[in-house]
């Protein structure tokens, strides 16, 4: 029994190490694996919106940093292409 659990723990450990090495290789470096786990996974979500869902509204801030407008103000007349992103 004890031998079996040692064997199981050993193989799981080996599997984890292999997975980490493989991920490091795929992502670029061990630092990128850490970044992915620490920063990307908690923030990446598929979301619940589907084609045909009502588009949610949100209040945005203008480039001047003080004015506001709503996404909804920009919809209705024509299709609205919404592009989300950041600089880095």
């Amino acid at each position: 029994m004890r031998r079996l659990s040692k064997w199981a723990a050993g193989s799981i450990g080996l599997l984890l190490v292999t997975a980490f090495v493989a991920l490091s290789f795929l992502a670029g470096s061990p630092k990128d694996v850490y970044g992915m786990l620490r920063y990307a996974l908690p923030h990446m979500h598929r979301g619940t919106l589907q084609v045909g869902s009502d588009a949610p509204d949100a209040r945005l801030v203008g480039l001047d940093g003080t004015s506001h407008f709503h996404i909804r103000e920009r919809t209705g007349a024509r299709p609205l292409v919404l592009v989300f992103g950041s600089f880095t």
Partner: protein, 136 residues
């Protein structure tokens, strides 16, 4: 980004566009990448709306970015509503419904799909004179 700008230029007479600036993907204090240093795009994750607006302005000025622009506020309301981070494209039709839902970047961020949606409605815009790299 260049591909989105090209789509904007091609279809701005037919559709409205809005870029929404959300939380940084690779700030210096989180998961910075080598490419950020190479491209000289090194910013800490903004903690205030002023910092966020300052980076947004750096971005639009550096690339003379032509699309209408909005900044997600510090509650990340737009980002949460659209599950947008780190980058994502949607098209909302005239009735206010989602007509196209793009995948999550970087791997499933595909401006070409948004272009296809617009092309199906308004006709394709060809760029034969352009080099392949610019048309991407």
């Amino acid at each position: 980004m260049g591909d989105v700008v090209q789509i904007y230029e091609d279809y701005k007479n037919h559709a409205d566009f809005l870029t929404v600036y959300v939380r940084e993907a690779h700030p210096t204090d989180e998961w910075q990448m080598k490419s950020n240093v190479k491209d000289d795009v090194c910013y800490a994750q903004p903690k205030t709306l002023e910092q966020r607006a300052a980076i947004a302005n750096d971005f639009t000025k550096r690339f003379k970015y032509p699309l209408p622009f909005g900044i997600d506020d510090m509650s990340n309301a737009a980002n949460d509503a659209y599950a947008a981070w780190p980058e994502r494209i949607y098209i909302i039709d005239e009735s206010g419904r989602i007509a196209y839902r793009g995948g999550i970047g970087p791997f499933n961020y595909k401006p070409a799909e948004a272009r296809e949606w617009l092309a199906a409605r308004y006709g394709a815009v060809k760029h034969e004179a352009q080099p392949a790299a610019a048309a991407k």
